[in-house]
Symmetry: D2
Subunit: 258 residues, 4 copies
């Protein structure tokens, strides 16, 4: 299917030069490796290569992980490995309604919107309007804006939605949002928090336990990428060695000592 | 919504006693911590606790990760952390059509079926009929059998489907399936392989590079779970320290040197 | 040089059956893989194999890491990787005088005594006499007892020795020993603490900073052992994934803000 | 004891500005944070602070790990965590005689010379004269040159020394040095190799097994350093995530199937 105006495209030049754009007639992408016009992309297909002013680029169908590689991330600490695990372990599925705070630059928001499909809904809370503006712009590139409701509110003061399928917290003090999250969640559904420091693990975990969450876990993921060469394969020497900790549990109806 | 016959339930007694069942009148679950009848569960809700012959259990809405905890896994090496990352990074979404080999006990198969929703489709290849029978049984408990087509065939000899949205390989020699996978994939779509040994990383990665896959990565995830106690929080001492490596790339139309 | 009565020997049957003994006429070693007499070992050499009642064993010259494999370790959390790093990074050398607390089963004590040589000295504090008795027994097998002085005292209440070359703390509240350790250390020398929980990292680190230690670091080591087979090499699946954290710094003379 | 000409000093300005020098009248150390003269250090003590042209520095008694921080390391892949474990696990002790190849910039050489004390001896082989010149210079700063013998020879073609207490290999093809190492080692003593790629693990391990080494292990160490702040402690985000693998075993006299 040929690409047309409004389609999102991941323009891949090399591992360090990846650009996520929404095709717009008359626009031009400038990079330190040359430029190309959006018009030259229209009519091409995902998977095609395209000539730039110098060299060439590949046109890829965007996936949520491309957001991580290409977006403006003023507040980013979540990495694809974390978002992947949080989404999977939460048990969310197409059509679900999900609450999230804070919005940040929208990486998790957009990943959630992608996972729940056209019939799903993400309601995202953040007290910072500027962050939400960035996230809105990012979501609009991927044409996912219709699945997301932005609320410029403090989630610790209340969650308007009831009976939601999962709640994700990426904020400095998730423990202060735990009581409201419990009320708002469908029973048996998951609360998932992400925190960068060891001090926050304990506070979040114990707040969830005390609130009546069950099957509570605190976990961290360490990723290593390999540099593959014939007969000389090894992990890359330098890399991200820490992002944060994931704490998650499921809501039991009355609180149980289990 | 009250639970009724045919509904799947995760019966959670403690972290080591988790049972995934399909409610069937007249059936009984026996454990070393007491028993309960399916009939006593009917009419309860997800999130409720239930009295057992001794003690009590929690009734949870099953999520794919429960499969890992509870299923019979004769061939299992994939862990939730791996399945989570493979699904996320592949860019699959509700409604997609996906090919997978081998079926194994169905952990990845079922996780994929869950993620693509009611309009998606998983076609899973395995040369072992006994493994597929186990996987069918496991999928039927979760009522996901309609989204899965089982093929008792060798994927290295050909893939019937064309234009698929992603291909997942969990087999001893994924490099031998790479040429067929390339033909079968929609352009720009992902091939994701999982292998347990370091020797397989290089073979799979180079086969993908040579075939015309782009943005190829080899990665591993190490997970640590924390034991949280007030003022005495630390990672658990003993745990799974290795599962395998994930190799993934996207199909470029003609093969490019990028 | 032929082995004689009183010599220490590591008897190695397989990776899980390693026994550290002091040769004593008339004694016998019984294992689930057969037995052998000490008398049959006398006259053999390190590196020789020896017939047991069934199968055979290897006679090895003991190294400190054998202590870890073979000793009775009622309180052990330190692993060879940790002891190795603590010793190396402390900058201790042959002939040094070192203070340690607590003694525990003596794994660190003996490793330190081995490293400082015949002209070195270890003074080890512990409030538990039973632990020190175990450690004494362990040290006597390796003929290192002359280099170690055992003090059944609480190190938090004072360190008799002055001008020592390094101090090692493996105790629940190392921060309470930091002021005494500072007084007792030669200037520029190292204090090294080992703690199992995340909560203890911060308390120990900040106590050292506040006391006038410089070049303070908190580090952890994760070890993976590989299972090597031709064309099928990979890390072992299950293993020790956490032992503890090492906090270390050097004494500056007056305390400096550096 | 006041510092005098010829003494080695670690000049510590901050974590990124650490300089290892041998005090020489008339010399001056220039840094981007100011300068100081060696003459101003003479008469001071280890642990003292010293005024620089701007700000101040700390005078520390050098430890082997300072070599890592400060030396010119054109070929360095070994890190303190690796050197620490290799030395400890080898069972070397004061007075031992050790063979090593290659010399590289001398980081391992100097660490070994430090550990064996004034009565020990390191014989280090390298085919590159320029590397050995660098290592000689580095060793001279620490006044350890008398314990080290430099041989500009290929260790794969023969080891002159017999009955040595341990052999360390940090070279591209350690498997080719295994037969010579076996001949040269005292029985029961250790051969320890360090290699950066996964491919080298298997070749080295199997060569050692086939040669008659026993208790053979292949291990890797991953280190994480923590950034400690009150109530906000976490591992540093970016760091060294891979250095290499350590393969080690002990010589059995005739070769055994154990």
């Amino acid at each position: 299917m040929p690409l047309k105006e409004g389609d999102p495209v991941t323009i891949w030049i090399d591992i360090k030069r990846v650009y996520l754009v929404k095709l717009t007639k008359g626009k031009r992408l400038d990079t330190d490796k040359g430029f190309l016009t959006h018009d030259s992309i229209i009519g091409k297909e995902y998977g095609d290569t395209i000539k730039m002013s110098r060299g060439e680029a590949l046109l890829l169908k965007p996936i949520p992980a491309d957001i991580y590689t290409t977006f403006n991330r003023p507040s980013q600490v979540l990495y694809p490995k974390d978002v992947a695990y949080m989404i999977y372990i939460s048990g969310i599925k197409p059509g679900d309604t999900i609450v999230e705070a804070g919005t940040g630059s929208g990486f998790l928001t957009i990943s959630l919107a992608y996972a729940v499909g056209a019939n799903g809904k993400i309601i995202t809370y953040d007290i910072r309007q500027d962050m939400q503006d960035t996230a809105k712009f990012n979501a609009s590139i991927l044409n996912l804006i219709d699945r997301i409701e932005f609320k410029n509110k403090d989630i610790r003061e209340g969650i308007d939605e009831k009976n939601v399928d999962a709640i994700f917290l990426d904020m400095p003090d998730p423990w202060n949002a735990v009581p409201r999250a419990y009320e708002s969640l469908k029973s048996s559904s998951e609360l998932i928090a992400f925190v960068p420091t060891v001090n926050q693990i304990e506070k979040t975990y114990l707040a969830m336990k005390n609130q009546g969450f069950i099957d509570v876990h605190a976990e961290e993921l360490i990723m290593r990428e390999y540099q593959v060469k014939e007969n000389a394969t090894r992990p890359k020497n330098i890399g991200v060695i820490h992002t944060g900790y994931i704490i998650r549990g499921r809501k039991s109806i009355k609180g149980t000592s289990l």
